[in-house]
Symmetry: C2
Subunit: 337 residues, 2 copies
């Protein structure tokens, strides 16, 4: 391990002088600076950020906590987050909760222990409130990412789930659908609640009475509730369309539908929230409301850093990013009975 003292000794100066050269602080004569710099380069000295963090009480490290690393929405988001952090001189400690409260708890503890400067946080659900309170108790700034938790006030970067859902519903209804099922995430998650509101609102607008038995609540992360879907599609009046509350659910739904011999969209239409970047590049099939995932990450990180660096007004800020309807092939006019 090569330390600042090794440099100091070899350059025949004090440790303080070396520190000043490295951090470009204080007054240093050009001659000394150059001599020190040369020794640094020669020995390939790299400062120990642990020692640095200890004294500075800052780590220059941010945490990004997401809920599903296999979901392209989050991986694209992660890229944006990383780009923004990098540009402003921060490193990123990733965490993936898999929508699981306990995994999330462990990450929060790691975060607290690492003393990261801030967290861009997609909470697994409303129970995450305990984790957020821990952060607040320690004055670690966080920005809600995509989802919020009731009664916790902090900065937010999100999309408009309610409005997006409403647009999707209007589209289906315009196509002529009357019996529309909703396959949703857990009602523990704010976006799932909002998307359901949009769903109900869409039905109301069209004068269709919401039918609770057309709503299935499961997990955003993966769809394997075969029985649940079975119940939905084997009703006397089979729904002609399914609104899947996210991309992962849509994949599961389509797979199960096909397994049952139902063609999409000929027999049943499917739409969802969030695009499937790769799959769609390859085969533009799914009709979706696409959210600007990269911007979620990029602007979220910017917001977090602005907050940390005191560049934001003291009261919590909210950024709502616009989404965009991408009409493709998975939804069509319902087959006449």
């Amino acid at each position: 391990m090569i330390t600042i003292y090794d440099i100091a000794k070899k350059a025949n100066v004090s440790a303080m002088t070396v520190s000043k050269v490295i951090n470009r602080t204080g007054r240093i004569s050009t001659a000394t600076r150059e001599r020190v710099q040369q020794v640094i380069d020669e020995l390939g000295y790299i400062p120990n950020s642990n020692a640095r963090s200890l004294v500075l009480q800052r780590t220059q490290m941010l945490s990004l906590l997401i809920t599903d690393i296999t979901n392209p929405f989050y991986t694209t988001l992660a890229r944006g987050a990383e780009d923004a952090a990098h540009l402003r001189g921060y490193r990123v400690l990733f965490g993936n909760s898999d929508e699981d409260y306990h995994k999330e708890k462990e990450y929060v503890e790691a975060i607290l222990s690492t003393r990261v400067d801030g967290v861009l946080f997609a909470p697994a659900g409303d129970r995450s409130i305990t984790h957020l309170q821990q952060l607040q108790a320690r004055n670690i700034p966080f920005v809600f990412l995509d989802r919020t938790v009731p009664s916790i006030h902090s900065d937010v970067i999100a999309g408009d789930s309610r409005q997006g859902a409403l647009e999707l519903m209007r589209y289906l209804i315009k196509l002529g659908h009357q019996h529309i099922a909703l396959v949703n995430g857990s009602s523990e998650v704010s976006t799932a609640r909002l998307r359901e509101e949009g769903y109900v609102e869409g039905l109301r607008e069209a004068g269709i009475a919401p039918d609770p038995s057309l709503v299935l609540r499961t997990s955003y992360r993966d769809f394997s509730d075969d029985e649940g879907l079975e119940r939905l599609v084997s009703r006397p009046q089979q729904p002609t369309a399914v609104f899947a509350a996210n991309n992962m659910l849509a994949i599961g739904v389509i797979r199960l539908l096909r397994k049952r011999g139902l063609r999409v969209p000929e027999d049943i239409s499917v739409v969802c929230f969030d695009d499937l970047d790769l799959a769609s590049a390859f085969d533009p099939f799914l009709t979706v409301i696409a959210q600007p995932a990269y911007e979620f990450g990029y602007q979220g990180m910017q917001m977090l850093i602005d907050r940390i660096e005191g560049k934001l007004p003291p009261d919590p800020q909210t950024i709502i990013l616009p989404s965009e309807m991408r009409i493709r092939a998975s939804a069509a006019t319902p087959a006449p009975d």
Copy 2:
């Protein structure tokens, strides 16, 4: 900031005693342990890992450096890596080089500065040798992930690129293809070289003379070399099949082919290395050699941790994971002329 001294004071013991309770080291009477633990819980004390790392010269932090976070091969791998690290009590600092030497350099510096205990490293290319030498100079263990760099000896977890490519070629040739193009990654990358070897070997086996003008070398990360592909397919003798050296390239190739009005597989067959998890779940179209991405990450991390903890023989180990051919719809018998 709440420190070990706050606990010590409140529990009426020394800092050492608290430290011992936290780390379950040394002898502590049950009474003291319980009293201390209670204060810890009450105050919600969480140790400062920076201070800890400083004295222990260990961070319990590992780094995972990948080259494309939007590629499902790497995201699935990342999950495996994280699971394994987590299970053994390590945290993971992710880095994404985007196949870029300079971005990689910055990550390596961050890694060095953070003093991570080890790195699971997918090098961007042969030039990464400078980064690996830096790690070696500082005795930071690393495991080559997926790719290696000539003349650097370290543990390796990888697939058999040469063999996989050969199998893909045999399959195409069995279908009747004689004119097979290769769209490859950069020859700076070991897997690209090996896949090309497999390609050539496949041709040789079938008594087909390799034609250099049927080989296009670009980047694994994305495919946008429209002109390059143009040249490949607009030859007098148009190839009847394309072997894309990874999944991202395959997507690009198929998109460009379709743009040119060529149907896959009716007009031209396409096969590739690595599956597209989501896209394939949804629409099993692409014929691929699938590598066990999760295992790459999981076993790679295990290997790294075993190395760090001295559980491996001193000489570098190599694990080659088996791949699996998944025959689907994107390759078919060539159309008769």
